[in-house]
């Protein structure tokens, strides 16, 4: 079991490092992630939502649907914890 774990870990790691080969450099302002979609949030946050913090506006508004489910995750984790800890048997 341990050997399988080790081999799959090494494989996954190698694949991930190999995968970084066509990544943009760290902090590159011309990286796709910095040029596509995200600038619109930064430029639009004040205009669209009147919120100066872009993280807040994306979290609460642009991608509010995600955040709604985020709260559901906490809710159901809470329910699970309650139901697990209240098990009658030992």
């Amino acid at each position: 079991m341990k050997r399988i774990a080790l081999i799959s870990t090494l494989l996954a790691g190698a694949l991930l490092i190999w995968g970084t080969r066509d990544f943009p450099s760290w902090g590159d302002p011309n990286a796709p992630a910095s040029r596509h979609v995200s600038p619109t949030y930064i430029e639009g946050t004040v205009k669209d939502t009147s919120i100066p913090n872009a993280v807040t506006s994306v979290l609460g508004d642009y991608r509010g649907y995600d955040t709604m489910f985020e709260t559901v995750v906490i809710f159901c984790a809470g329910i699970v914890v309650i139901s697990v800890l209240r098990r009658p048997d030992a």
């Binding site: 694949l15 080969r21 066509d22 796709p32 509010g64 649907y65 995600d66 699970v80 697990v84």
Partner: protein, 498 residues
């Protein structure tokens, strides 16, 4: 309520119902059933309406909060999505009738907790089916998984250990998926599926893209228990309370396969998977074939009805993954059809199991003796489901198998074709063994003569029998409706290039 929002209501009502059950169910146990049934019937009706709309008017995309894609989160209500929505809500409604009964027996004062999780799980599955955003999939997948962990942990005996193992495996899958999405985001800067599909062909198909693809796919494979990543499933599914198994077993793996189809064809393209990396296709179909054979063989070794079924679920996952990766129209049609059919078959089987468990107590083969006499209706439904699993017309299992075999022959994947036929034969042996045990009388009954007419019929309660009969009937009806289903729905659900 504008008609274009109905798909959102189908999702939102179970969610709201979950809170209602949580709050009201604490005070009055009697409040649970009406809320659950009401919410799910509404959800089903809404999904059906949307489905009919899509059939007549075509699919549409919906932007949440009116933020245009790719800035906001987009939902896609197309043929495939709304078909899945009908499937999810239909199965959930049917299952819940039986679950309400069995949970009332199993978990007296924790019913409201159970049904809160149950409804959130359904809402999560609706969300997964609708979403067109890659990150949103991650969040919803975790909702579905966490609720499933909780439902499993409500089971008896070693259920907590099974649940913990599932947590570890499920989180591994989710982490892999998230990693893949991270790579994709770094490469493209977007999370919207349509936008990704637009950008990915412009990128050079390099190592990063391949890594992103493989991590996402492997993550989904872990979640759907594709061989050899299946080890968590048998324990988790057999230790669940019956009420949870009737929902989780039919839907969880099937929705994940739907996600794989979305991921492969709405984010990446057939050209990427099947033309640029044709060798991978061979390997995956081979793995599917191996998975079918191994899971069927392992099912043969089981001595407990429900545990046997869990291995069959793994084999069926192999059917569908293999069908998708056959890379031809017939195979993909078969895979999509099999998502629907397998959900119904598994539903019927697990409803029957739950009905049997309510009367016979245990589910090991020995305790099934003489069941035909005691529970004729339940056993008849089980036989119908068994026929569908074996692939006997006119039950629906035959037709999806037909398409899958056709696709396999067309693709020249003889290993896969052989595995399908092998698994049909194994299914015949497996179910026949069960039926034989249940058909022949118990040893303590009289040897001959009219003596055993006296054994009383002791059927499951009506609340468990009705959904079971409905599911069994659905197997035949869907089987006979295969033609229109393929012609008017699945043909449009196939991605471009097919």
């Amino acid at each position: 309520m504008s008609p274009t929002n109905l798909h959102m209501y189908a999702l939102a009502t179970p969610l709201i119902g979950a809170f209602a059950v949580m709050v009201l169910g604490r005070y009055s146990r009697r409040a649970v059933a009406p809320i659950v049934l009401g919410v799910l019937s509404f959800s089903f009706a809404a999904a059906l309406t949307v489905f009919l709309q899509v059939l007549s008017g075509g699919g549409f995309r919906y932007v949440v909060g009116n933020w245009l894609a790719p800035y906001g989160i987009e939902l896609s209500v197309d043929h495939l999505g709304s078909l899945m929505q009908v499937l999810v809500s239909g199965v959930a409604l049917t299952a819940s009738v039986s679950a309400l009964k069995s949970v009332a027996n199993d978990l007296q004062d924790r019913q409201h907790l159970f049904f809160t999780l149950y409804l959130i799980l359904i809402a999560g599955l609706h969300g997964l089916v609708l979403t067109a955003d890659a990150f949103n999939v991650y969040v919803l997948l975790e909702i579905a998984s966490i609720t499933a962990y909780g439902l499993i942990a409500l089971g008896r005996g070693r259920a907590i250990v099974s649940s913990f193992n599932y947590v570890i495996m499920g989180s591994t899958g989710a982490c892999f998926y998230l990693l893949g999405i991270g790579y994709l985001y770094i490469l493209t800067g977007t999370l919207n599926m349509a936008d990704l599909a637009r950008i990915i062909p412009t990128l050079q198909s390099g190592p990063a893209l391949a890594t992103a693809f493989s991590f996402c796919i492997v993550g989904l494979w872990i979640k759907m228990a594709f061989f050899p990543l299946h080890v968590w499933l048998p324990n988790a599914y057999s230790d669940m309370p019956d009420g949870a198994a009737v929902l989780v077993a039919p839907l969880m793996t099937k929705v994940t396969i739907y996600l794989m189809i979305r991921f492969m064809f709405s984010i990446f393209s057939p050209a990427y998977e099947f033309i640029q990396h044709a060798g991978v296709q061979q390997i995956v179909v081979g793995m599917a074939a191996l998975g079918i054979v191994c899971a069927s063989a392992m099912a043969l070794g089981q001595k407990n009805l429900r545990r046997m079924l869990t291995y069959l679920i793994i084999a069926e996952v192999g059917y569908m993954v293999g069908g998708v990766w056959l890379a031809n129209t017939q195979g993909l049609t078969g895979a999509i059809l099999h998502i629907v059919n397998d959900a119904l078959m598994t539903l019927c089987l697990f409803l029957a199991v739950s009905a049997i468990a309510s009367r016979a107590g245990a589910l090991d083969f020995e305790s099934l003796r003489g069941l035909f006499r005691r529970m004729p209706v339940t056993m008849a439904a089980l036989v119908v489901a068994a026929l569908s699993m074996i692939g006997v017309p006119p039950t629906c299992g035959f037709f999806s198998k037909w398409y899958l075999l056709l696709g396999g022959i067309q693709a020249g994947q003889w290993l896969y074709v052989g595995a399908l036929i092998f698994s049909s034969l194994v299914n015949a042996v497996l179910f026949f063994r069960v039926i034989e045990i249940a058909y022949f009388r118990t040893p303590d009954e009289g040897a001959h003569g009219s003596g055993h007419e006296a054994v009383p019929i002791r059927e499951a309660p009506a609340a468990m029998l009705q959904p079971l009969v409905a599911a069994a009937a659905a197997l035949v009806v869907v089987g006979l409706a295969t033609g229109p289903l393929v012609q008017h729905v699945i043909r449009f659900a196939l991605p471009g290039g097919f």
